[in-house]
């Protein structure tokens, strides 16, 4: 079986759980002898080689002039507009047309065009998404595959276009929805692309039952075609670093500092804890659009001396941070899965997660709290740091649960999903 997999992130260049999950999944699929070609916007050349083929969309040769700007624009317009609901129409047409204009063509391309990508979540993200779809659609003639598997809205258009050209079944994999990222005010264009992808897919994989219900209820997708396949975690390839005995306790938040991750609840809990725990220190690792306001709030609460803001951390630094952490807190408002909780666990760190996270479904023994219940969150943190019963109890049980969460198992379910689509 051969799968053309479309994704936006792959290690080492990752912004969050999406790339980590894609990496685990393709490794797991390799274990099941599934051939995967993973197409990302561009390769850095530092990706780990592991029994799959990686391809950058920037490497895809596009015949010129047959690939006309008109065709590109029409496609984008089709997917952007045809699925939009009435009130959103105007808003979608605008950016669609604006971003649909292909970049100026280099002079001497000798009939072959390569599009350029940053692979980042920059201001031209939508333009990049459309160009990615355009480039990837040309793989219809160049690659043979049985299944198209597209991860998150960024690649849905590419998947839909490829499906249209080849007639191959399309699986879309939902790691997050626009409702997770933006709450009740989804970006209408992204929302519309998600709707098109979910409707056009032959099968949808959601990373948790929680996300499955979002897909079914918010997007009106037939539940019969939506499977829940929980993420897993790769085994740790290094031993935890023993830390010098210290009375200082470190409470860690790791993730994008955005609405979805609930960073402000972490700060409010810290404010309750500081007067009672003189030895506690808080680390907020990650960046995002709420970072400035979070730092303001920390200053306002006069907690600056107890807080560290690290900015975005690459994977190796994340591991080091876990080694230093006494408890990991993930107060997500809406978390489709939350793979970093598994990474913390793997490093032997007790985790407190919100009930509003998919990972809660696979970690019965994790400490759980409603994200808005700051007092309960603070109390759990206090309990983990102060009372010696929790750590050994938690580690013993959670490690057992963690050992069940292998990518080989998760991938087996994905293979099963593929097989259900093949004759």
């Amino acid at each position: 079986m051969r799968v053309l997999m479309l994704g936006w992130e792959f290690p080492p260049r990752i912004a969050g759980g999406l790339g980590v999950a894609c990496y685990g999944l393709v490794k797991g699929l390799a274990y099941h002898k599934v051939e995967v070609v993973f197409v990302m916007p561009l390769r850095t050349g530092e990706e780990p080689p592991d029994g799959y083929r990686l391809l950058g969309a920037n490497e895809i040769p596009i015949p010129f002039p047959s690939a006309s700007a008109a065709e590109f624009g029409e496609k984008v317009r089709f997917y952007g507009v045809a699925t939009a609901l009435g009130p959103y129409m105007e808003q979608i047409v605008g950016p669609t047309l604006e971003f649909s204009v292909p970049p100026p063509l280099p002079e001497a391309t000798e009939g072959v065009l390569h599009l350029e990508f940053t692979g980042r979540y920059g201001p031209d993200l939508l333009g990049e998404v459309y160009r990615y779809a355009f480039a990837v659609s040309h793989l219809a003639e160049r690659e043979t595959f049985d299944i198209i598997h597209a991860h998150d809205w960024l690649t849905y258009l590419a998947g839909l276009w490829l499906k249209e050209k080849t007639g191959k079944p399309l699986v879309v994999h939902v790691h997050a929805t626009e409702y997770d990222r933006s709450g009740e005010n989804p970006n209408p264009t992204i929302r519309a692309i998600e709707q098109a992808g979910l409707e056009g897919a032959d099968l949808v994989i959601a990373v948790s039952f929680y996300t499955r219900s979002v897909v079914v209820e918010r997007y009106g997708i037939d539940p019969a075609k939506v499977w829940a396949v929980h993420n897993a975690v790769l085994p740790k390839d290094r031993a935890p670093v023993s830390r010098p005995p210290s009375s200082r306790k470190v409470v860690t938040f790791l993730g994008r500092v955005t609405f979805q991750k609930g960073p402000e609840y972490f700060v409010e809990a810290a404010a309750l804890l500081v007067p009672r725990l003189p030895e506690v220190h808080f680390v907020m690792a990650g960046t995002g659009d709420l970072l400035r306001s979070v730092i303001h709030r920390v200053a306002q609460l006069r907690l600056g001396a107890r807080f560290s803001f690290t900015g975005f951390l690459p994977p190796a630094e994340v591991e080091r941070l876990f080694d230093l952490s006494d408890v990991y807190v993930m107060p997500s408002v809406s978390e489709p899965f939350g793979i970093s909780a598994l990474e913390a666990l793997r490093a032997g760190v007790p985790v407190i997660i919100s009930y509003q996270s998919g990972v809660a479904e696979v970690l019965p023994h994790a400490l759980k709290v409603n994200f808005w219940d700051v007092e309960a969150l603070a109390d759990l943190i206090y309990g983990v740091l102060r009372y010696k019963g929790i750590r050994p109890f938690f580690i013993r049980h959670a490690q057992q649960e963690l050992s069940q969460l292998q990518w080989e198992r998760a991938s087996a379910k994905v293979v099963e999903a593929y097989q259900s689509l093949l004759p």
């Binding site: 309750l272 804890l273 007067p275 009672r276 019965p364 023994h365 400490l367 759980k368 007092e375 309960a376 603070a378 109390d379 759990l380 206090y382 309990g383 102060r386 009372y387 010696k388 019963g389 929790i390 050994p392 109890f393 013993r396 049980h397």
Partner: protein
């Protein structure tokens, strides 16, 4: 003719309120007054009052020579009756006044103090005996430890307190090849042992409304027949269960009350059995053998050991931390400290921290105010921290 010893355990803990770390040193109010009251009044309505009325009817109809029952009413339960449901206390008092009811002694707060301190254990037993004397004019001769926890050394202590018999679990590990349907004696002390027939007891207490059970529905005839067809020489049948079985664990709609009444009536009408008390058994039976239990047994779960209360790190840490305070408590006379010391020892607090909660939590979730064992543990530890501060500051 069988002799059925029906024993009902009636207990309610003082459940704790949400008590955060920032409450430590600020408030000493530990109990969820609203929930405790509401829960007790609900159970009173669904179980205590209707079942007491049913028992009274049976006693009046058949007379105490043919129909008697035994109760274990814990100190915290009786305190809650006084606070929240005095009419239920009166109803128990009326039952006791018939002479057809025996009351057994136990630790006042339904604690596991025996595992930590003989002094504390004996103090609590005396407090419970005193309460039974005060409320009922009763002088218990038989002892029943919390959750039927039993072991050899305890038998010596209980004998030392002047009791003539103990109730215990008819656990396979204790009985081996023997049947629970005889009177036994401790190998350590001249004290009688009445052992629970766990299969027949649990048929009523746990399986009565279980539709996946091959014997469902359990009828009065079926139950009467099982008892009548026990070997002829096995005349004693000890059925011990939670009183809340009637109307709470098994809802009234399941037909539990009708079943119970019909079953008693059937056995008495047909002359197949008498319903007797432990003291009556002691006066009529001779122990057939001495049994030894080097390790503690209980009636809980399938393991019938202490793991429901002291099976994980949360529970053992909380338990150890609690009893570290014993020496301090004994130096303080403040009645509110003494009251809280008792209430915090109630075994339910440890039960709520049980790991089995995650796996087969049904029984463990019953009346459980917490979402997870962590919450139970942290709440308890926060309260202990406050309690410890109060002890340190007490004159």
């Amino acid at each position: 003719m069988k002799h059925i010893c029906l024993y009902f355990q009636v207990h309610q803990p003082f459940r704790l309120r949400i008590y955060r770390f920032f409450d430590i040193g600020v408030t000493h109010d530990y109990y969820h007054e609203v929930n405790n009251r509401a829960l007790l009044q609900r159970i009173a309505r669904k179980c205590y009052l209707p079942m007491n009325a049913l028992l009274l009817r049976l006693i009046e109809k058949w007379g105490k020579e043919r129909f008697s029952v035994t109760f274990g009413l814990t100190g915290t339960f009786l305190e809650q009756l006084q606070l929240y449901a005095p009419e239920v206390l009166e109803s128990f008092q009326r039952l006791y006044a018939t002479g057809a009811v025996e009351l057994v002694a136990e630790t006042y707060p339904h604690s596991l103090a025996c595992l930590k301190s003989r002094t504390e254990f004996e103090r609590q037993v005396r407090q419970h005996v005193e309460l039974l004397r005060k409320l009922f004019g009763a002088t218990p001769k038989v002892f029943r430890n919390t959750e039927l926890v039993y072991y050899d050394e305890l038998a010596r202590w209980v004998h030392g307190l002047g009791f003539q018999a103990m109730l215990a679990e008819g656990a396979d590990t204790l009985l081996g090849w023997r049947s629970p349907n005889y009177l036994y004696q401790s190998s350590e002390a001249p004290i009688g042992l009445l052992l629970r027939h766990y299969k027949l007891s649990d048929d009523i207490a746990f399986r009565f409304s279980d539709r996946s059970w091959s014997e469902w529905p359990l009828t009065a005839e079926k139950m009467a027949n099982w008892i009548a067809s026990l070997p002829a020489e096995e005349t004693l049948v000890n059925l011990f269960m939670d009183y809340e079985t009637f109307g709470e664990h098994q809802w009234a709609e399941s037909g539990i009350f009708e079943f119970y009444e019909a079953w008693v009536e059937l056995l008495l009408r047909e002359g197949l059995a008498l319903f007797v008390t432990p003291s009556w058994v002691l006066s009529q039976y001779k122990p057939v053998a001495a049994l030894s239990a080097p390790m503690p047994l209980s009636w809980a779960d399938t393991e019938r050991d202490l793991t429901a209360w002291l099976g994980n790190e949360l529970q053992t840490d909380a338990f150890e931390t609690l009893y570290e305070l014993e020496a301090l408590v004994q130096k303080v006379e403040d009645p509110s400290i003494q009251r809280d010391w008792l209430r915090l020892q109630t075994s339910d607090h440890f039960y709520y921290m049980c790991t089995k909660f995650f796996a087969d939590g049904d029984v463990h979730k019953y009346f459980n105010p917490y979402n997870s064992p962590y919450e139970a543990y942290i709440t308890y530890m926060n309260i202990l921290a406050d309690f410890r501060q109060r002890l340190a500051q007490a004159p």
